[in-house]
Every structure is written in C-alpha cells, then in structure tokens.
Amino acid sequence: MFKIIRKQTLNPTVVLMDIEAPFVARKAEPGQFIMLRINESGERIPLTVADYDREKGIVTIIYQIVGKTTRALSEMSEGDALLDFVGPLGTASHLEGYKKVAVVGGGLGTAIAYPQAKKLHALGAEVHAITGFRNKELIILEKEMGNVSDKLVVATDDGSNGNKGFVTNVLKQLIDEGNKYDLVIAIGPLVMMRAVSNLTREYGIKTIVSMNSIMIDGTGMCGGCRLTVGGETKFACVDGPDFDGHLIDFDEAMRRQGMYKNQERQSEDKHACRLGGVTNA
C-alpha cells in the first residue's frame, strides 16, 4: 500500500498528492511516469512524476479530474493509501547539453513540464518558461515555475490574468524577439503540442513533446500506447513518453486517445450515481 502523505488542491480540477513510494523515489527522473491503481476493481492509469524527494521516499503526482479514476483519487484523503503504485517507468528526458531552452506547459502539462524546467535550470541552462491556462482560476505552479526559470510568461486564453493569448503566440513572439533556443519542450494537450511543433518546425528548432497515450501495463508488453513516430511504430511507455514533436503523427494519436470515450462516460456516470445514492447498476 502507498500512503497519501499530502494532498493539495491547486485549482478547481487539479490536485497534487505526495505519495510514500521509496523505491520509486530512489530512481525517478524528469520525464518518467508511474502507473497507479486505487483499489481492487480499479484500472491502471499513468501519471507523470511531478517531483520526488529521494531522502523522504516521496513521489509527487499532479493530476486533473477528467473521469472516474481521477475523480475517485481526488476524493481520497491524506492518510489513505493507494493499492498499487509502480515506477519509475519510461525513458528519462535527455536534458544535458542545452544552453537555452523554452519550456512550454499547457494546463495540467505545466505540472509535467515543471520537473524538466527544474532539472534544466539545475544543469545551468537558461530556461524560459511559458505556461498557458484557460483562465486565471486555473493557473498552477506559478511560483514553482518562476523559481526554476530565468523568464516566466503565464498566458490565459481569456486574458483574465492580464496576459491574453495562447502559448504558441508567446513562444513565437519570444523567438521573433531574437531568443535563440536550442530546444523547445512542449507538454500539454495533444492539440497544443501539435501547434507548438508546427510553429517550431518553421524555425527549425528541435522540439520534444511528452505523449500521453492510453496505457495499461506501462512496461512494454501490450502496445496499447503505440504511436507512429517518423513512420515507425513506437511504444510511448518504453520508447517515450518523450518524442521528437516534428516526427509524431498527431492525428493518429488524437484518434487513439479517444478510443474509449463512450466507456469512459459510462464509467463516470456510474460512479456519479453511486455518490448520489442512486442505485441503477
């Protein structure tokens, strides 16, 4: 069992949890992820390692409430325990050797981009962080991102924080102002990562994205998370989740991500009914 040590609500739908998982904490690196299962009837879901404390044996996860499992997780409290928590999985990001990097986070993707920015900063790179949210209420990790970057721009779609625009607009502006990035890291919804990749392709800037495929085991034994990268089939759980954004077939990835839309709705409806005390199962 893996105990929830700390729980913090970052915005109305995003929650942070520190989980006691000493073996995962010992080895975790930015770019890697874990799979967790809440209880006996639960599914396995992948979540990125947002932070870790090797000494205390703690792994931080940050997740958005999007369906049954993440909702059930958000209803758990400090002191409760998860049944299964396995990792670190995936290939760690290669962050060495870069001088000036733009780290772009969209929504929850900011939490996944944070450990990368932190590590790049620690390695001595000049880090420009660009994060984007729908509105002011949804902004997360502003202080944390600020601490590990040389420049931070927080944009909102509706301009409610006084800085209207999409991350792609901000990135384009920074590039056009003469910032020479030798790497762009983009993490967020698939549409956002595709937009960033399309932009940087024009400028010929190397771009890494973190793919969020549907996963079951997370160890390379089923291929549920497969993607087409540069014309070849890759497994996001072992070959990634980081890939060259200019080589990803984003249309295919988006399609595959929607494969269980109907079932996901059915599962969440059932969960909601149980919570409401209605039994129609």
Binding site: F23, V24, R26, K27, R37, S41, G42, E43, R44, K68, T69, L83, D84, F85, V86, G87, P88, L89, I216, D217, T219, G220, M221, C222, G223, G224, R226, L227, T228, T233, V238, E252, R255, R256, G258, M259, Y260, Q263, E264, Q266, S267, K270, A281
Partner: protein, 463 residues
C-alpha cells in the same frame, strides 16, 4: 484388477452454447468416484514412460495409485514433491504431447487421464486438504527471482524448500505472470491461481509486486543488495505486430493487450471493474496458437456475433492444442485457414471497418520442415469487421537485457543460457522459461525453473 476401458472417464463440462456467454470454467473436473475409476486405468507399469515425458518429473504412477485407493491427500503430497503448481498444470499442460503421449495405455485406446487426475487431486486438496506446511529452516542465503510466472514460482518454491530466503520481484500488481494476464478465466480460474501461489508463499517465499526490475532496480543492484544468485524468469511479453497498413487503427489490439484487459483487469465485468475493452459485432483474430484461441473465445464471450480465426497455414499446422481448437469450434468460432491479412481497412474517423485477406496454398517445406504458405494470385477479398486482434507471437521484453551489462542475448531477444544449468553469461545469474526460449508452454517454463533452482543450489552450497 485394472479398469481396461479404452476411453478416459469423461470429464463433465459446460455446454458450448451456454459457456460461450460466460467466463466460468469450461471443464468442470472429476468427482471422487470418476477419479478413482480413471486412476484404475493406470497399469502402474515398471518402465513409467509417462514420468520422462513430464518436464518436472511428477511421480505419476505413484500418485495415481494413491488416487485409486482414495488416498487423495497423500496423492497431493506425492505430486507436490516435484510440482509446485498442480492445479495449474492439470489444466493447461499439453499432456497429449508430454506425459500422456508416452502412456502405455495410449498404444491401444486413450492414455490414462493424467492431467485430469492431477487437477482432481489439486482441487480436492484445496477443498478438503490440510494447509499445514513444513517450512524449511532458513540457511540465511538470499536469492532473487525476477518474474512471478510459472518459471519464477517454481524456481522460488524449490529454493525455499532447501532453506533459501527467496524474494520474487513482480512488475504487475499481482503475481502469476501469464497465468493471470494471459490464460483466460474460463480455462484457468484466477482465484485458483492465487490460491496455488499462496502454497508457494507458505514455504516462505516473499513476493514483492509493483517492482519492475530493469527500472526500479537493476540485476547488478540486486546483487549489491545481498542476493547471492538471481533467476530471471521474466517471460516473453513483447507483442509482435504484422507491420501491415492499418495496424494502428482504433479497434486493433495485440492479443497481450486484449487478454490483459480481460483477464488481469477484469474488463469483462465493466463497468463494475473500471478497465474498458472494445469488441465489435465481428472480430478477427490473426494467428493459430493457444493465445489466438484464448483471444477468439474471449471475444465471443464478450458478445461478438462473428469471431474469425485467420491463419495462413492449414489446420494441421496450427500450433494450438487440439483440445482448444475443438473447444473453439464448438463455441462457434469460424476458422479461416490458408488465409493471410494484407491490410486493415479503416473508416474516415479511424476505426477498423474490415480486413483485406488473400488465400494461401502450401508450397515447399521450409527450414523448419513446415510447408511454406504461398499467396494465391487474385484471391484478395475483404471481411467486414470492427475489431482485429493480433496473436502472431511474443518475444522477450528487452527491459532487463538492456539494463544488464554482460548478459548475452540472441538476436531476437532471448537470454542465452547453458542448457544443462540455466546459467547465463553473467556469473551468479540464471534464466529460464519464455525469457530464454520465446513463447512456449507453462510446464516447460516450470521445468526450466526447477533446473535453475538445482544449479543455484549447487553453486551456493559448494561455495
């Protein structure tokens, strides 16, 4: 006086049209009287050819004589002397090509139902037998086992009996390997697998789940942690795809994914279990092995109206067990043999809508002696369907070999071992089962685990 009937005592099973709608076990097992009657067919011959056909050398005539006398618990103890997982083996071993193939009675009529009797004894013990275990006194020597499938469990059980402190590291959240994620409930009930694994734990084996060796700890780090020897039994879990157009469409599964969702994650109970699975009205399973049969029969049980097995050779070449092919046909699976997929066709929004196949004919024998299938020109045709499951084989997962310097592997990923001992190129590291051979059988993996346990004992007791 032995029972000279030429046929095995029939084993009751669920009717095909009922069982193809549920996930309950198909074969129901012998009652006590049936088991005694079948046991009396054994001639207790001196030469015991059956024993040499068993990869873990179960003392077959001895346990069968005990069954014939109604001494079921003693029969169980006799089997357990050499076999850690009799309830599993009695169900999934291909006895027809092992112990039963060599049975003297098989020269005229059917062999003795050794598998059925083994299963009966194990089930009887679980229901009625004693749970007391004689745990060996610890010798204080730590051994690590990677993977809790049949090979790892057998190796761990045998070493624990000799007093070793054995820790098994399992990547998944439950132990059992292919017994849990691969073989379906209707052939091998999962509660029973866990009960059988408990008997291995009762010997003192510590099983740690959620530990992906190669990620959380490397083989070298296990040795640094004080494990004097390591056995790698990590199986062949890497699925092969066909590399034909359309393989990444929605609705295309590897058999590993399809079966893992159903067996390990209980997707057949969705939404009571949280993991979903998608099965359309028409389903094609590509391949002719046991995994293909399991996937096809599972799809049928999930409500598919038409389930095809697509296999490029003829039925005679099918690697699946005869019994499974027979069961599949009874349950309404449609066999399209000498047929090969060319591409998978999709709808505009990216879902499977059909598969284009071509007819094959058998040509000259290839290196393996099997006649090579050759395409018949102009025989292309399309099957309309919504789900495709690819069951054309698995190879070993590279996670361990990639993170273990000095471990020699074959070009296709299998770990290279010394056949007699299971020793790898790395000192103190042994391997066995599908991680070495590629996808094979449960009992061969158990035999390899057993052999490695003997070698490890030899290494550590002589040191």
């Amino acid at each position: 006086m032995p029972n000279m009937s030429l046929d095995k005592v029939k084993m009751p099973e669920q009717e095909p049209d009922i069982r193809n709608k549920n996930f309950k076990e198909v074969a129901l097992g012998y009652e006590e009287a049936m088991a005694i009657e079948e046991a009396q067919r054994c001639l207790n011959c001196k030469t015991k050819p059956c024993v040499s056909g068993c990869p873990v050398n179960v003392k077959i005539p001895e346990f069968i004589q005990l069954v014939a006398e109604g001494r079921f618990e003693e029969a169980y103890d006799k089997i357990k002397e050499t076999n850690s997982l009799p309830a599993v083996c009695g169900r999934v071993c291909p006895q027809e090509s092992q112990c039963e193939q060599l049975c003297v009675r098989a020269k005229k009529g059917e062999s003795v139902g050794i598998g059925r009797l083994e299963r009966f004894v194990a089930d009887w013990h679980m229901k009625n037998g004693s749970r007391a275990v004689n745990k060996a006194e610890s010798n204080g020597i730590k051994v690590a086992v990677v993977g809790s499938g049949p090979a790892g469990l057998t190796c761990a059980g045998d070493l624990a009996k000799l007093g070793y402190e054995v820790t098994v590291f399992e990547a998944f959240h439950v132990p059992g390997g292919v017994l849990m994620y691969g073989i379906p409930e209707f052939r091998l009930p999962k509660a029973l697998v866990q009960e059988e694994i408990q008997t291995v734990k009762d010997l003192g084996v510590d099983i740690r789940t959620n530990m992906v060796i190669g990620k959380v700890l490397s083989i070298d780090e296990l040795k640094e942690e004080g494990y004097k020897a390591v056995f790698i039994g990590s199986g062949a879990g890497l699925p092969s795809f066909m590399k034909i157009p359309g393989e990444n469409l929605n609705g295309v599964y590897s058999a590993n994914e399809f079966l893992t969702r159903i067996n390990l994650m209980s997707a057949y109970k969705f939404p009571d279990a949280d993991t979903p699975v998608f099965v359309g009205k028409s389903v094609a399973v590509v391949g002719g092995g046991n995994v293909a049969m399991d996937a096809a029969r599972s799809a049928k049980r999930l409500g598919a109206e038409r389930v095809y097995i697509i296999y490029r050779r003829s039925e005679a070449e099918m690697p699946a067990r005869l019994e499974e092919v027979h069961h599949a046909k009874e349950e309404g699976i449609i066999f399209k043999v000498l047929t090969n997929p060319k591409r998978i066709l999709g709808t505009d929004d990216g879902w499977v809508k059909g598969i284009e196949c071509v007819d094959m004919e058998l040509g000259e024998p290839d290196k393996s002696g099997r006649r090579r299938p050759v395409e018949k020109k102009g025989s292309e045709h399309i099957l309309d369907l919504e789900t495709v499951i690819i069951a054309i084989g698995q190879s070993p997962n590279p996670l361990i070999s990639k993170t273990t310097p000095g471990l020699d592997i074959q070009s296709w990923g299998g770990i290279i071992v010394e056949e007699e001992t299971g020793a790898t190129s790395k000192s103190g590291v042994y391997a066995g089962g599908d991680a070495v051979t590629g996808a094979a059988t449960v009992i061969l993996a158990m035999g390899a685990g057993k052999k490695a346990a003997e070698s490890i004992h030899k290494l550590l007791s002589e040191a």
